[in-house]
């Protein structure tokens, strides 16, 4: 069983939804990010998504774009991203880490070399925004072969007919993007999300995490009620920027929000699935 499968099995046993946190690797700098990463599990993150910075993040809003550019300005690179994971794994062998980003930095690193190094570092899954099922040969199939989950995004435009293609070769969990839009955009209402998750569940047994537009405990709790996990990203990386302006420690500032959100999510008891 992979770390991701184990984690979702444990969540099911606990009868609650998971909390997936997104931060950008190397934001605002390598050292601070390493501290933040190390602090996430204790603050309540069940799964960690670590963004691989890219100069041209076409599916991201201004906040996550800015986080990537901050990181790149401080020397972030694929090697440093993998180092963050490797160092994290020295102390935590249970919390799943999913790398999220765009294909070009992986392609430049070399797909085969990337998969070997990512696996060795302790990466559990990949979310690559610009690799739809139509491009599965590029990375998805080699990743699955290398024992790394390829986690796909499903969106409101993914209809009944297309869902099977999106689910094929997807494992670990499915990431349902609750609105057609970029990261940081407004949220969909929980009713619509609930219906969409139910629709997806008819096609698959893998857990469904829901993201986009979750900014506070109230919304996180609402999503936790209808999904297997809630993903928060933009609100976290915005705290990095805020901390820099205020001159306080970004890691502490982000972790404080993670604790709040985690409490909200843990407060939601799940009806047995």
């Amino acid at each position: 069983m992979s770390r991701i499968d184990k984690r979702f099995a444990a969540l099911r046993a606990e009868g609650r939804a998971g909390f997936v946190t997104f931060i950008t690797a190397g934001d605002p700098d390598h050292e601070t990010c390493a501290r933040l990463l190390a602090g996430l599990p204790a603050a309540g993150a069940d799964v960690i998504e670590l963004g691989m910075p890219f100069s041209d993040p076409m599916a991201d809003g201004p906040s996550i774009e800015a986080a990537g550019l901050r990181a790149l300005a401080k020397g972030a690179s694929m090697q440093m991203t993998l180092k963050l994971v490797r160092d994290f794994r020295q102390k935590d062998n249970d919390t799943p880490i999913v790398l999220m980003g765009y294909f070009n930095p992986i392609s430049a690193y070399g797909v085969d070399r990337f998969l070997v190094d990512a696996k060795a570092a302790g990466v559990d899954g990949l979310i690559v925004v610009d690799l739809p099922p139509e491009e599965d040969d590029e990375l998805c199939l080699p990743a699955v072969k290398a024992g790394i989950h390829f986690i796909r995004l499903a969106t409101p435009t993914t209809d009944e007919q297309r869902l099977p293609a999106v689910l094929a070769n997807t494992s670990g969990f499915l990431y349902y993007v609750s609105i057609a839009g970029i990261t940081g955009a407004a949220a969909a209402d929980p009713d619509a999300v609930g219906k969409a998750v139910a629709r997806i569940k008819k096609h698959t047994k893998i857990p469904v995490a829901v993201g986009f537009g979750i900014r506070d405990g109230k919304r996180a709790a609402e999503i936790a009620r209808v999904a297997d996990a809630a993903v928060v990203g933009t609100a976290l990386v915005e705290r990095v920027a805020e901390a820099q302006i205020k001159g306080i420690d970004p890691a502490d500032h982000v972790l404080a929000l993670v604790r709040d959100l985690s409490k909200a999510i843990r407060g939601v008891a799940k009806a047995a699935a």
Partner: protein, 403 residues
């Protein structure tokens, strides 16, 4: 190595030209892209679509554009016989409108009610704003702040045409960033919005359909050269940003193996510097904006900024079909610097009474290098992709003239 029996059969059903192209887009866009492909296939075999397109190209755009014997230019250079394919005489002043007519008709067929586009020089933005006005659709144009600064006349034209011009402040604030922003808009408004991509790039089927819509350039050139000279050209020259005017000129001749093909990238301050836009000469294959192609990027796969005096060529990538033609060796990819383009701009203005776009001036700069070495019976067709009115402020500044 197996011989190709045609250079014109691409892309394959997955949108690949050799290893280039593809559909590297977010899931949100994928259903729409598949739908666009279906609609385009249906439109292609629908005589009514063809008829409406032909009508608009003729009476609205003013096609066919002339193939003009550039006698003063030819005499001055003293070699090859040079013809200009006068795309600058099209309505809106560039080749870009050929493609916009085709795409807006597709948008209509698909029932889309809102148009978006990216623009660099503003020519594609103007052409898109124009067809959006003509078809009564609201239109948003994304343009980098740097380009807004250097192409003021076109910004005002777009506004006059009723388009909203949104300044893009991210990244290098030029064409690539405008494309990122247009993609973000598209992902957000996918239900009602059609994205008119301005060059032979982006996810499949865009590189194919833009090529098809621009191929009118080469098809006319073939017929016109036959009429004037009784044979097809010996060589073709065009500038390359994303590569649409070049592909439009080249594609109908790809299987005429004796036709030499030259595509001219922008070398900016020189290929030996980092300030250029020569993605084939200096880039490596990667994935950006929906397709695999040659890209200017660093070792970590971060896209680097392109630099050229010509806003329309200021893009760190190139259409995937060009990447493939480069690799199989069917076309020659060369470059011209800012300085060479500026010289060509002035020479053409003075000798021919035609002020060419700075983009097209890159093609002319290569003609200036090439033509003198060729015999007088060598027929050369150059794509004059646009007119230079939009560039007078940039050129004045470069020449140290205050307007």
């Amino acid at each position: 190595m197996t011989m190709l029996n045609s250079y014109r059969s691409g892309p394959d059903e997955k949108g690949h030209f050799g290893k280039f192209g593809g559909r590297f887009v977010a899931e949100t866009l994928m259903p729409l892209i598949l739908d666009l492909e279906k609609h385009y296939a249906a439109a292609k075999s629908d005589p009514a679509f063809r008829a409406e397109m032909d009508y608009l190209l003729k009476d609205y755009v003013g096609r066919p554009s002339p193939l003009y014997y550039a006698e003063p230019f030819t005499k001055h250079l003293g070699g090859a016989k040079i013809y200009f394919k006068r795309e600058e005489l099209n309505h809106t002043g560039a080749h870009k409108i050929n493609n916009c007519i085709g795409q807006i008709l597709l948008a209509k067929r698909m029932g889309k009610t809102r148009i978006i586009a990216e623009t660099g020089a503003g020519q594609h933005g103007v052409a898109t704003a124009t067809v959006a006005a003509r078809f009564g659709l609201p239109c948003v144009i994304y343009m980098g702040e740097v380009d807004i600064e250097r192409q003021q006349p076109n910004v005002f034209r777009m506004k006059l045409l009723g388009a909203e011009v949104r300044a893009v402040k991210s990244g290098s604030r030029t064409l690539k960033d405008a494309m990122n922003e247009a993609l973000r808009d598209w992902v957000t408004n996918v239900h009602d919005t059609f994205y008119i991509i301005g060059t032979v790039a982006g996810p499949h089927p865009y590189p194919m359909l833009v090529r098809d819509f621009q191929s009118v350039i080469g098809e006319e050139t073939r017929v016109q050269m036959m009429e004037k000279e009784g044979r097809i050209p010996d060589s073709l020259v065009a500038c390359i940003g994303g590569g649409s005017n070049a592909m439009g000129l080249f594609h109908p001749f790809l299987d005429d193996k004796d036709v030499q093909i030259y595509a001219v990238e922008a070398a900016g301050e020189g290929l030996e510097t980092t300030r250029h836009a020569a993605s084939l000469a200096k880039g490596v294959p990667g994935v950006l904006h929906g397709n695999r192609t040659y890209l200017l990027q660093d070792a970590d796969g971060q896209i680097t900024e392109a630099h050229t005096i010509s806003a329309g060529l200021d893009y760190p990538g190139i259409g995937p079909e060009h990447a493939w033609l480069h690799d199989v060796g069917r076309a020659n990819y060369v470059s011209a610097t800012d300085k060479e383009a500026l010289d060509a701009f002035q020479l053409c203005s003075r000798l021919e009474g035609i002020i060419p776009a700075l983009e097209s001036s890159h093609a002319l700069a290569h003609v200036i290098k090439l033509a003198p070495k060729l015999p007088k019976d060598h027929l050369m067709a150059v794509c004059l992709s646009g007119r230079g009115d939009k560039d007078i402020y940039t050129v004045a500044k470069a020449l140290g003239v205050k307007l």
